[in-house]
């Protein structure tokens, strides 16, 4: 024990300036490149105007960058110490919107803080990653892989999932499950438990179907056969196909997408921004974007693998998986691989909350990178 402590004493805390130098610059560059593609598309959506979307998105990205840098400077020990409180606060917020939603119209998912609105369900993704990382960090490896020790993590996952489902927000609930499953997977869960779990999920799908709202079921039907109702619910997905497909290899050119410029493509500044990119820049443009995303994911993996503490590793990987979940769900949705669930394309789609949450996630990821050499005590809260 003393030795561990001594290690801490030996290593001087790096100055904030040194930390800035130690930032993962390729990651920052890749993020900025992806966001710039978004600016370009938002400029095009407005018919070649910075208003009303592109300029605001640029400002938001700037704010996001500041948050990222601030988060990156925060010591990883503090993040671990904040993990449970942050989780607790998020659960409370979810309860608040649930409660307030009864007085609002329909699905009330927002909390208005005056200056910014936040969506607790977005925060829940970050909170879940940190809480699970914190939990497994404190468990011994023997414990972590056993079935009985799953009770707490499943509870940690289940609580926000249940609250988000009540909103109802199926997309976010699925992302929370996905993140949770990934963290359980990399924390060394036994294979037979994993396989049993997958079978259980497969068995639960038909039961879960019964609990879906009509509009959610409709989305699934539409997904299965979009051309059955081309002017109704299948319209979006058909127009999305047409926009993507008609782009061909190199696209119709910047500002030249007829599907998007003539308004056939719905929601093209938010969830359906990829088809717009596909239409104007073609397969080439889409591949570049996927390549940039892949680069970010790769950097996420390397950060996770090079971190010294288990908390940092798990947090980095969870955040990377969160980012992956956005990309997969959004792209698969607009290309008709899965039903339409309202998930934006991270860093590209117009929208404040998603942008800020994603940048917060990268802030924590960056913090893991900056503090990759830090050791963390098993059960420690704050131990400076």
């Amino acid at each position: 024990m003393a030795g561990v402590r001594a290690l801490h004493m030996d290593r001087p805390r790096p100055s904030p300036f040194a930390k800035l130098l130690d930032l993962h610059w390729p990651l920052l560059l890749a993020i900025t490149a992806i966001a710039s593609i978004g600016f370009l598309m938002l400029y095009s959506v407005a018919g070649g105007n910075l208003d009303p979307w592109a300029m605001r998105q640029i400002v938001r990205f700037g704010v996001g960058l500041v948050i990222l840098l601030v988060f990156a400077m925060i010591d990883i020990k503090l993040w671990m110490a904040l993990a449970y409180p942050f989780y607790g606060v998020t659960i409370v917020l979810l309860l608040v919107v649930q409660f307030a939603g009864r007085f609002g119209k329909g699905a009330e998912r927002w909390i208005d803080l005056g200056i910014i609105q936040i969506q607790p369900s977005e925060l829940a993704k970050l909170a879940l990653v940190l809480a699970l990382a914190r939990f497994f960090h404190g468990r011994s490896f023997e414990d972590a892989v056993k079935l009985k020790s799953l009770v707490v993590p499943l509870g940690l996952i289940g609580l926000p999932v249940a609250l988000v489902l009540m909103q109802p927000n199926l997309g976010t609930a699925l992302i929370l499950c996905f993140i949770g499953a990934c963290i359980l997977f990399v924390s060394g869960l036994r294979w037979w438990i994993i396989i049993a779990g997958l079978l259980a999920v497969a068995g639960a799908v038909p039961i879960g179907w019964e609990f879906l709202h009509d509009y959610q079921k409709q989305r699934v039907y539409t997904f299965l056969d979009p051309e059955s109702d081309p002017l109704g619910t299948g319209y979006n997905i058909m127009q999305s196909y047409i926009a993507m497909g008609s782009g061909g290899l190199f696209g119709k050119g910047f500002l030249g997408g007829t599907q998007s410029q003539l308004d056939f493509l719905p929601e093209k500044h938010t969830d359906f921004i990829l088809p717009m990119l596909g239409e104007e820049f073609g397969f080439a443009g889409c591949t570049v974007l996927v390549g940039l995303y892949a680069l970010v994911l790769l950097i996420g993996f390397t950060i996770a693998l090079s971190a010294r503490s288990h908390f940092a590793r798990l947090a980095a990987l969870g955040l990377t998986m969160n980012f992956l979940a956005y990309i997969l769900i959004n792209m698969a949705m607009v290309m008709g691989v899965i039903p339409v669930v309202g998930i934006p394309l991270p860093l590209v789609s117009y929208g404040g909350t998603a942008m800020l949450t994603v940048m917060m996630g990268f802030g924590i990821l960056m913090s893991v990178h900056v503090h990759r050499q830090s050791d963390l005590p098993r059960h420690g809260g704050l131990a400076f």
């Binding site: 490896f141 997977f185 196909y241 007829t258 003539l262 889409c286 996927v290 994911l297 290309m335």
Partner: protein
């Protein structure tokens, strides 16, 4: 402890590394899946989606061509198009139809009725289809609205084209009128022309407008436009010009037409004049007419009912749909039947004591004391009934019917103006079919003088006299002379196969009617050089008049029961050029009511031969 911890730490970090790498493989696979889906959509299926994208955005818009004009033989415009200044409303471009109409009412009165109509149409049409608020505006009002239109949400000032008929009611029964394609038209008259599916596209509903509708219509142009998802036009991508409708030239001479119409004014009457050489119609009048412009601008329910209730029947085209007993004009046919059958010849004299007995019936001549012994020329001159009773008795009804048919009676001519009636020429077969019994001996006598079952239209009577005048050539009447640049060939006019001597006798009889002393139309003689006119009077009993008693000649008889007056004629006698039939309903006597009118019209036509040229455009009142 530390060793245990370190070993454990190593275990879980290497487990993490293994599992993380597995996740990395999974991530790569999933991203690869996304890219392959992109490849499928954007490379493999790109052509299909490109086509779909084009069908999304490209719309074809049909451009209606201007309708062809209709002119007379001297190029006088009889039907043309004029700009129609109108105000449209596009419901999608305004938040409140009421507000837009309120603003519009500063320029032009907007009635509650107009409001209701606009709202009703706005509901039934798609929001982007323009609804007509008001049309037929004058230029001043239109210009003001046009200037203010940018400040009137949804209001569009638009110039359309509307059909106009400068001669109003003088040509109504020739030209007919146009109006918007109806459901019925689409069912019955669909010729595959896409223009018919254009809402409100005008097509000919009657007269020449209907008969030559297809060439008048022209060919629609096509505009390729790019539209956005809301249907708004973004730009024009291409345009194929259509072809304007062909101009139609009629055989009419508007000068004669107008003169004839004026002459028949206030009568329920008709007149048809034909060029005996080729069947060209010079004048075609049914009086009273109606103003076809009213069908364009629309009229009230009351006006429609009034027109239908008018005893002078302005909506009926009497010249080809009015069926009248031809009366004595039919004696020409009876005479020819007798001559051709050899039952009489030019020298055959038949004594007229003023009546003829057949069985228990007595058939009267109109002259109580009789005409004495008359030959065919005399009989025509004085219109002796007994002479023709005897001819009828000798040749029989079927011979008369066959002769009538050769002169166009009981026939249809496939005339351009729709609505021809066939009339009735009785024969044995006809009576069997119609009444289930054979002819009675009396039927032959009645038929011989154009009474009984015989009926004919003025057009048929004109054709009959035409064929007599031209020496027995079966000319067909026609009124369309040229379609666009292509002259319309006159239908063939083969000889009917009547001996010239027979025709000559009939012509001589008709000459005597007008020009010999004691002829029934002696007062309607034309005296000008080369204007000698031959004719035949006729007086036809009105069906049902007998029950009132007598021959319904007197002025004391109610108008609607008075006899019809007929006159057929041709001129000049020496070298016949024009033939004509005039029928004046309830005119009481051919020589009194019909012949004087015919004389004036014929004189006008013959004078025109000396000074041909376009008729000066009348006091052409353009409505609206």
């Amino acid at each position: 402890m530390a060793t245990h911890n370190e070993r454990e730490e190593y275990e879980r970090s290497s487990a993490f590394t293994r599992r993380a790498l597995l996740l990395g493989v999974g991530t790569t696979a999933l991203l690869g899946g996304l890219v392959s889906r992109m490849y499928q959509l954007q490379i493999l299926d790109a052509d299909k989606f490109r086509t779909l994208s084009d069908t999304n955005r490209i719309n074809l818009q049909l451009l209606p061509p201007p309708r062809g004009r209709i002119v007379d033989r001297f190029q006088v415009e009889l039907a043309s198009n004029r700009p129609n200044y109108r105000v449209l409303l596009v419901p999608d471009q305004t938040d409140s139809i009421d507000m837009s109409l309120d603003l519009l009412s500063h320029f032009v009165p907007v009635t509650q009725k107009m409001r209701d109509k606009v709202k009703r149409e706005a509901r039934t049409k798609s929001g982007l289809a323009a609804v007509t608020v008001v049309d037929g505006l004058n230029w001043d009002v239109f210009a003001k609205i046009n200037l203010a239109a940018p400040d009137l949400p949804g209001i569009v000032a638009d110039v359309g084209q509307v059909r106009t008929y400068p001669f109003t009611d003088q040509l109504s029964h020739v030209l007919g009128y146009v109006s918007a394609v109806s459901e019925n038209d689409l069912k019955n008259r669909d010729d595959g022309d896409p223009l018919l599916r254009l809402p409100g596209f005008p097509i000919g509903k009657n007269g020449v407008e209907k008969a030559v509708d297809r060439p008048l219509r022209g060919k629609g142009g096509v505009r390729q436009i790019e539209v956005n998802a809301h249907g708004r036009v973004i730009r024009e991508l291409g345009r194929t010009e259509g072809k304007p409708g062909a101009d139609i030239e009629l055989t009419l001479d508007m000068d004669i037409q107008r003169f004839a119409q004026e002459r028949l004014k206030d009568e329920s009457a008709s007149a048809v004049m034909i060029d005996v050489r080729n069947g060209e119609i010079l004048a075609f009048v049914s009086s009273p007419g109606f103003d076809p412009n009213e069908f364009i601008t629309g009229f009230t329910q009351k006006r429609w009912e009034d027109m239908n209730a008018d005893p002078l029947k302005p909506l009926l085209n009497k010249a080809l749909a009015g069926e009248y007993a031809p009366g004595s004009t039919f004696k020409i046919v009876t005479g020819l039947a007798g001559l051709e059958a050899g039952a009489i010849d030019g020298n055959t004299r038949i004594r007229c004591p003023g009546y003829m007995k057949l069985g228990s019936h007595t058939f009267h001549c109109h002259r109580r004391g009789g005409h004495g012994a008359v030959n065919v020329v005399d009989a025509l001159k004085v219109s002796c009934n007994v002479f023709f009773y005897e001819v009828g008795r000798r040749v029989g009804v079927d011979a008369i019917a066959a002769m009538a048919q050769r002169f166009g009676l009981g026939e249809k001519f496939n005339f351009e103006v729709p609505g021809e009636r066939r009339g009735t020429i009785p024969s044995t077969a006809w009576k069997m079919e119609r009444f289930g019994e054979g002819l009675l001996p009396g039927d032959a006598l009645n038929t011989a003088i154009g009474q009984g079952y015989v009926t004919a239209t003025p057009l048929q009577l004109a054709v009959m006299v035409t064929r007599v005048a031209n020496g027995g050539n079966a000319v067909i009447p026609h009124i369309v002379r040229r379609i666009g640049d292509g002259p319309v060939a006159a239908p063939l006019a083969p000889p009917i196969g009547i001996a010239p001597s027979s025709i000559a006798l009939i012509q001589a009889g008709m000459d005597a009617v007008v020009n010999a002393g004691g002829g029934t139309a002696g007062r309607s003689r034309l005296t000008g050089e080369g204007m000698r006119m031959a004719g035949k009077t006729g007086t036809a009993q009105v069906r049902g008049a007998k029950s009132v008693g007598g021959t319904a000649k007197g002025n004391g008889v109610p108008w609607h029961l008075r006899n019809h007056a007929l006159f057929i004629c041709f001129a000049p006698v020496e070298a016949p050029r024009y033939a004509m039939a005039v029928v004046v309903e309830h005119g009481q006597g051919g020589s009194k009511a019909a012949a004087p009118i015919a004389k004036d019209i014929m004189q006008r036509a013959l004078e025109r031969l000396q000074t041909p040229g376009p008729a000066p455009v009348a006091s052409a009142v353009v409505p609206g």
